[in-house]
């Protein structure tokens, strides 16, 4: 560790310092602010040039760590660096841009039904978590915050669903969760419209449907928890020096990757009950949670199209260029079984859009 280089001393003031070239404004700029001795602030109404919106940021080739920190974050992620106002047309050529449009819709529209808002947020969270999982070193702080948000939404959904069987037969919407300010009339409009159709069609066989619905929810909750757990476990493995075997115990309930994909699809299915019925038609209704634990997840869901929520939707497949760690190797093992159904997928974007439109239609009940 030799002596550091000496540079930029007082005697070298005449030579351009590295800062001056990059536009440092040093000294000389003065301000006046409200203070006991100061002149007080005046709102000057002279013309001030509003900075013109900058050009669209270039989309970087790879995500990398830059996506997480620093000023490169928003530029690297999406084009929604500016708040996009209503009526702004954009080419829907990218899944990310679509999400940006949805999030602007979330912010600007008050009439968006609460469950849809919640689903939007949940999708965004899960998308982010999946993206972070692909990074070699995910940001622990952000992952924890997002995982907490997912858990919160999941808990709320669970409570809601546990109330639903009671209320649905009366056609009354369940009580709005603890988010005041939400337009409750919106909820009563939309929730029963999605579910009451099912109920009214098969109110005779409600007893058979209830367990299905509950089992769906229970399954997705457990899978969601295991998804979050797996993300945090992977983080632990990535970061800490503990031996891998202790972190991924052999007695783990489900392999990490596949339930995550399938639970995302299950989440989607919950909104589309008809589709869900078909998926779980072959199940024995008795106790699906333990049923799942006994089986290998890959086999059951092999024919489900998880293309929308595959984690490689925006970048080359999961084969990381870096030497794989044990966690990554496990990932590679479980993924092929899930991806087999989606190998025929053409650009994800277009199928995503049509699926999103489809979901929105169902939710809005149009």
């Amino acid at each position: 560790m030799g002596a550091g280089p000496a540079a930029g001393g007082r005697g070298a003031r005449s030579s351009p310092s590295p800062w001056a070239g990059r536009g440092v404004a040093c000294g000389g700029e003065e301000l006046r602010w409200p203070g006991p001795g100061g002149g007080g602030s005046r709102l000057l109404l002279e013309g001030v040039r509003v900075p013109a919106p900058l050009r669209e940021p270039a989309r970087p080739a790879g995500e990398g760590r830059a996506a997480c920190e620093g000023a490169g974050g928003p530029l690297a992620r999406s084009s929604s660096r500016f708040m996009l106002g209503r009526g702004l047309k954009r080419k829907l050529s990218d899944y990310e841009e679509n999400m940006a449009g949805l999030s602007s819709a979330f912010d600007s529209s008050r009439n968006l039904p609460y469950p849809l808002k919640r689903q939007l947020v949940l999708n965004m969270c899960l998308t982010k978590l999946q993206t972070y999982k692909m990074l070699v070193e995910p940001n622990l702080h952000r992952s924890v915050l997002i995982a907490n948000t997912v858990r919160q939404i999941q808990e709320e959904m669970r409570q809601e669903s546990s109330q639903q069987p009671i209320n649905v037969c009366n056609g009354i919407a369940p009580n709005p969760p603890s988010y005041p300010g939400i337009d409750s009339s919106g909820i009563s409009l939309h929730l029963p419209s999605g579910s009451s159709q099912q109920e009214s069609n098969c109110c005779n066989s409600w007893s058979a449907e209830g367990p299905i619905e509950n089992s769906l929810l229970m399954v997705s909750d457990d899978d969601m928890s295991s998804a979050i757990s797996s993300i945090l476990k992977d983080l632990d493995f990535m970061e800490d020096i503990s031996p891998p075997t202790s972190l991924v115990p052999a007695g783990d309930d489900e392999p990490p990757k596949s339930p995550e994909n399938t639970c995302l699809k299950l989440e989607d299915d919950r909104q589309d009950l008809k589709g869900a019925e078909c998926v779980f038609g072959s199940f024995e209704i008795s106790n699906s949670t333990s049923y799942l634990k006994d089986l290998a997840i890959d086999d059951i869901f092999e024919d489900i199209d998880t293309s929308m929520y595959d984690s490689d939707f925006c970048s080359p497949p999961l084969m990381a260029p870096r030497p794989p760690s044990a966690a990554t190797e496990e990932t590679l093992k479980t993924f092929p079984s899930c991806n087999s159904s989606s190998t025929n997928n053409i650009p994800i974007c277009r199928t995503d859009l049509s699926e999103l439109d489809h979901i929105m239609e169902i939710l809005v009940g149009s």
Binding site: A6, G11, A20, E30, W33, L54, D107, N148
Partner: protein, 420 residues
Amino acid sequence: ADIISTVEFNHTGELLATGDKGGRVVIFQREQESKNQPHRRGEYNVYSTFQSHEPEFDYLKSLEIEEKINKIRWLPQQNAAYFLLSTNDKTVKLWKVSERDKRPEGYNLKDEDGRLRDPSMITMLRVPVLRPMDLMVEATPRRVFANAHTYHINSISVNSDYETYMSADDLRINLWNFEITNQSFNIVDIKPANMEELTEVITAAEFHPHHCNTFVYSSSKGTIRLCDMRASALCDRHSKFFEEPEDPSNRSFFSEIISSISDVKFSHSGRYIMTRDYLTVKVWDLNMENRPIETYQVHDYLRSKLCSLYENDCIFDKFECVWNGSDSVIMTGSYNNFFRMFDRNTKRDVTLEASRENSKPRAILKPRKVCVGGKRRKDEISVDSLDFSKKILHTAWHPSENIIAVAATNNLYIFQDKVN
């Protein structure tokens, strides 16, 4: 690589250090005020530049370690040299910055070029003399404190005993002695046995300015814990726990994310702490744990844009906050190169902009205003036109005078109070 990542005045305010994303530290020094030009008060000029950290590769985990300087903290001056701590994600370094304006001349065994002389040619002995030379500022690394953090270091803080300091990462806080680089004490560890249960991380930590046994650390859940190192070796049990009950009317999906504290600072008096979360700055009295004594809205107009800000990751931006020398004014940054100051006594606040477009040298900064809805006045900016890539995360305030340093991405602005 030129994005400024930290700004810090030293204890006298004579020096201002900045760290950037490329691992470099640039130190500015204030010009001595000259009697010839009394109206031109000391300006800051570059004093020293050195490469503090280099990018590294952790071969064991196949991870790159960024060279970005996360924090710089000065040590109080005890001799002619200046000492500062600089840290990246994993390693803390103690740097000594010293001046040299004399050099010895007249060696016996070497000639002026440094070449060795033939001993048989030497016929007389002389004593080398010190002759003045052009001022040279040298930075040398004196200590390297490495391999103590599994997670990313977010804070360092020098203790008031000037013998120890602490470094905090997402889950642990370590206590170091300046003289010992191969050992550190772990004083806080919030890592759960089962990582699946992790719901909270450490976001910032600081020592009390006068009590060397006391420190605080903030969390991602919006809480602050004050710990006393006299209580036990491992300060997992806090002495005080500061948390404000949630406001149910402001509840949203993003409530937890925006409550995450990005910075915590003791006041100079040591009586208060200030915390910054995404939308507000709060001042807490150390004697009252159940709520802050003051809350200031930094950019509440963003509350209705949280989903978009979440989508583009801006909601995770970590803004810092600073006190002025007398603890009467607090300052923090915002977007669009705006920064805000709040006067705690008069309860007035101002929004200013750090940009060269809108301010010429020596011009008075005009207060800015963001209009939320409805009619926009001539000089106001609407929320939708704010540039969210221009964020002011790092600011610093001179310890005794009204001089502030504001880092706007890769530009540094220094503003002084106008004196009539």
